[in-house]
C-alpha cells in the first residue's frame, strides 16, 4: 500500500508542479516583457476571453476528477483490510499505546509484526482523542473513546519503524511514540512463543468470563437466562424492539457495558452493567473470547500463527 500512496502522491506533485511552474514563468515573462517605467503608460484594453475562461475552468476540473478518483480508490483499499490478517488489539491512553496479541502477549509502545503479512490493528481510546500513525506504512486513524477504529498494513521490510500519536492529546503528546519491529516470520514465531504465561487473549477473556460469572447465564447450550454466545459473532441478531443488529466488536462491547441498550429478542433485561468496572483491555479480551466461540471451522482460541478467516459479515464480497 505504501508504494501506491507514494505513486499517487508523486503524480499529484508532478501535476501541481507543472501548473506552478507554468504560472510562475508566465508572471515573470509578462513582468519582464511588458515592464514600463512610465507611470502614464496604459496596457492594451483586453477585457477577457470566454474560450480561455472555459478552458482553464474545465481542464483543471477534469484533472481534479482524475486525482479524486485515483485517491478514492487508494483510500478505499486503505480502509478495507484483506480477509487474512493478523489481528492485534490496542488501547490508547495518555500517553502510551498498549498492544494485545491474540496469543496473549502484551506490549507497550512496541509492536512486533512479521514481514510480508497483513496486520490489522483494532483500537480505542481510554481518555481523549489520539491517532495511531505509522508513517512508514502511510496509515493513520483517530482513536476515539467509546468506539473502535482500525488500521491495517503489510510490512515489506525488516527493521524498526516509527509509531506516532498524531492527534494532539496534551502534555506528553510528542512522547506518545513507539516503534514497530518488523521481523522474519521465524523470528516472529520465536518471539510469540517466548514469555507470557497468562495464556492467549481469548483464554484471558474466558477467565474473565468465568470470574465475572457471565457463564452462569450465557450458557453455550442456550439453557441460561442470557443468550448463548456460540456462533453469534459476525451474524445478525434479532433485538427485543424488533430490529436487528450485526454482532461485531462494537456491539459486543456495548452489550457488556450497557446490556439493556440493545436487548436480544426473547430475553429479560436482567444483566447488570459493567460500565466502570472493566478496563478497555478487559473488554477487548472478552470481545475476543466471544469471537472465538465457534463450533465450526476451527473453534477455540485464535492465534496469530493461524490467521483468521473471519466470518463474512456482509454478503457483498468483492
Amino acid at each position: 500500500m505504501a508504494s501506491r500512496v507514494d505513486n499517487l502522491y508523486f503524480f499529484i506533485v508532478a501535476v501541481t508542479a507543472f501548473f506552478a511552474v507554468l504560472v510562475s514563468v508566465l508572471v515573470i515573462v509578462f513582468a519582464a516583457k511588458y515592464h514600463t517605467k512610465d507611470p502614464l503608460a496604459v496596457g492594451q484594453p483586453i477585457h477577457g476571453s470566454m474560450p480561455l475562461e472555459l478552458a482553464w475552468s474545465i481542464i483543471p476540473f477534469l484533472i481534479s476528477v482524475v486525482i479524486f478518483a485515483w485517491a478514492a480508490d487508494v483510500f478505499f483499499d486503505l480502509q478495507r483490510p484483506p480477509d487474512q490478517t493478523i489481528e492485534i488489539y490496542s488501547t490508547a491512553k495518555r500517553w502510551m499505546w498498549k498492544f494485545q496479541h491474540l496469543d496473549g502477549q502484551n506490549e507497550i509502545n512496541e509492536l512486533h509484526v512479521p514481514v510480508g503479512r497483513a496486520v490489522k490493528v483494532t483500537f480505542t481510546s481510554e481518555d481523549v482523542l489520539h491517532s495511531m500513525f505509522f508513517p512508514s506504512f502511510r496509515v493513520k486513524a483517530d482513536a476515539i473513546p467509546g468506539r473502535y477504529s482500525t488500521v491495517w498494513f503489510t510490512a515489506t521490510k525488516i527493521g524498526e519503524f516509527h509509531l506516532f500519536c498524531a492527534e494532539y492529546c496534551g502534555t506528553s503528546h510528542s512522547g506518545m511514540i513507539g516503534k514497530v519491529i518488523v521481523m522474519e516470520p521465524a523470528a516472529y514465531q520465536a518471539w510469540l512463543a517466548g514469555g507470557v504465561g497468562s495464556g492467549s487473549l481469548s483464554q484471558r477473556g474466558e477467565q474473565l468470563f468465568n470470574d465475572l460469572a457471565c457463564n452462569t447465564c450465557h450458557r453455550s447450550d442456550g439453557s441460561g437466562r442470557g443468550p448463548s454466545l456460540v456462533n453469534k459473532f459476525g451474524a445478525p441478531v434479532e433485538l427485543a424492539n424488533g430490529t436487528s443488529v450485526a454482532v461485531n466488536e462494537a456491539y459486543v462491547r456495548e452489550s457488556i457495558l450497557t446490556p439493556q441498550a440493545k436487548l436480544v429478542a426473547g430475553f429479560q433485561p436482567l444483566m447488570p452493567t459493567f460500565q466502570g468496572l472493566l478496563s478497555e483491555e478487559s473488554v477487548i479480551a472478552l470481545v475476543e473470547y466471544v469471537k472465538s466461540l465457534r463450533t465450526t471451522g476451527g473453534g477455540g482460541p485464535r492465534t496469530a500463527s493461524e490467521p483468521s478467516a473471519t466470518a463474512p459479515a456482509t454478503p457483498q464480497n468483492k
Binding site: N241, T258, P259, Q260, A261, P269, T273
Partner: protein
C-alpha cells in the same frame, strides 16, 4: 439586485427637507429604513445558524437514541408547553399589531400593543420558571447530580443538556427582547414615531417574531417526541 442604485437627487436635494431622524450618512429616510431592515434580516440569518448548531446535535442524538428521547421527553409537561406556545404566538400577534399601529401613526395603540406583548412574554417566562424548577427538583439538570432511572440515563442526560441549552438560549433572547421593547415603548410614549419613520418598531418586531419561530420549532422537538409510544 440592482435595486439599490439609490435614485435620489443630487447632494443638495437630500438636505432640503431634513428629517430629524435622518442620519448624516444616508440621503433619504427610505434608504435608512431599507438599510436597517436588511441589517435586521441579516442578523436573523446568523441567529438561524446559531440555533442551527443545536438543532444539528438534537437531530443526531435523536436518530441514535430514539428510546432515550421518548423517555426523557415524557418528563416534560405537554400542557405547559402547549400553553406557552399559544402565549408566545399571541405575543407575536400583538407585536404585529404594534407595528401596524406605528405604521398608521397611532402612538397610544403602539404603546399598548407593545406592553401587551411584554406581558405575554412575561407569562411565558413565568411558566418556564416553574418548568425549570420542577427539573431541578427531579434532578433532571445535567451534571454530577443528574438522576434518570434505567439504561437510557446517558443519552437522557444529553437530551436534558440540549433542552436546557435550547430553551435557555431562547429565554435569553426573550429577556433581551424585553429590554428592547421597553425602550421602544418609551419612545412611542414620547411620540417619536410617525408613519414616515417607525423603523425601530419594525425591526424590534422582526426580532420578536424570530423568537416566536424558534419556539414554534422547540415545542414539537422537545415536548412532542414519541407521545404515541412507538419507541418506548
Amino acid at each position: 439586485m440592482g435595486d439599490a442604485v439609490a435614485v435620489h437627487g443630487g447632494h443638495g436635494d437630500a438636505h432640503a427637507h431634513h428629517h430629524p431622524d435622518l442620519q448624516h450618512h444616508f440621503d433619504t429616510l427610505e434608504q435608512q429604513h431599507e438599510a436597517a431592515t436588511l441589517g435586521m434580516w441579516l442578523f436573523l440569518i446568523t441567529e438561524v445558524l446559531f440555533f442551527g448548531g443545536l438543532f444539528l446535535a438534537y437531530m443526531l442524538y435523536r436518530v441514535w437514541y430514539p428510546v432515550a428521547w421518548a423517555e426523557a421527553s415524557r418528563e416534560l409537561d405537554i400542557v405547559l408547553g402547549a400553553f406557552n406556545t399559544a402565549v408566545l404566538i399571541g405575543s407575536s400577534l400583538t407585536m404585529a399589531l404594534a407595528v401596524r399601529a406605528a405604521q398608521t401613526g397611532k402612538q397610544r395603540a403602539t404603546v399598548v400593543w407593545i406592553l401587551l406583548t411584554m406581558t405575554l412574554g412575561f407569562v411565558f417566562l413565568i411558566v418556564k420558571y416553574f418548568e425549570y424548577k420542577e427539573k431541578f427538583e427531579h434532578h433532571h439538570v445535567p451534571g454530577p447530580n443528574f438522576v434518570f432511572e434505567g439504561p437510557e440515563a446517558g443519552p437522557a442526560q444529553i437530551y436534558f443538556s440540549l433542552y436546557f441549552l435550547m430553551t435557555g438560549l431562547h429565554a435569553t433572547h426573550m429577556i433581551i427582547g424585553f429590554f428592547i421593547m421597553a425602550v421602544i415603548a418609551w419612545m412611542a410614549h414620547k411620540k417619536r414615531f410617525t408613519p414616515e419613520w417607525y423603523t425601530p418598531v419594525e425591526i424590534t418586531g422582526l426580532y420578536w417574531h424570530f423568537v416566536d419561530i424558534v419556539w414554534i420549532f422547540l415545542f414539537p422537538l422537545l415536548y412532542l417526541v414519541d407521545r404515541a409510544g412507538h419507541f418506548a
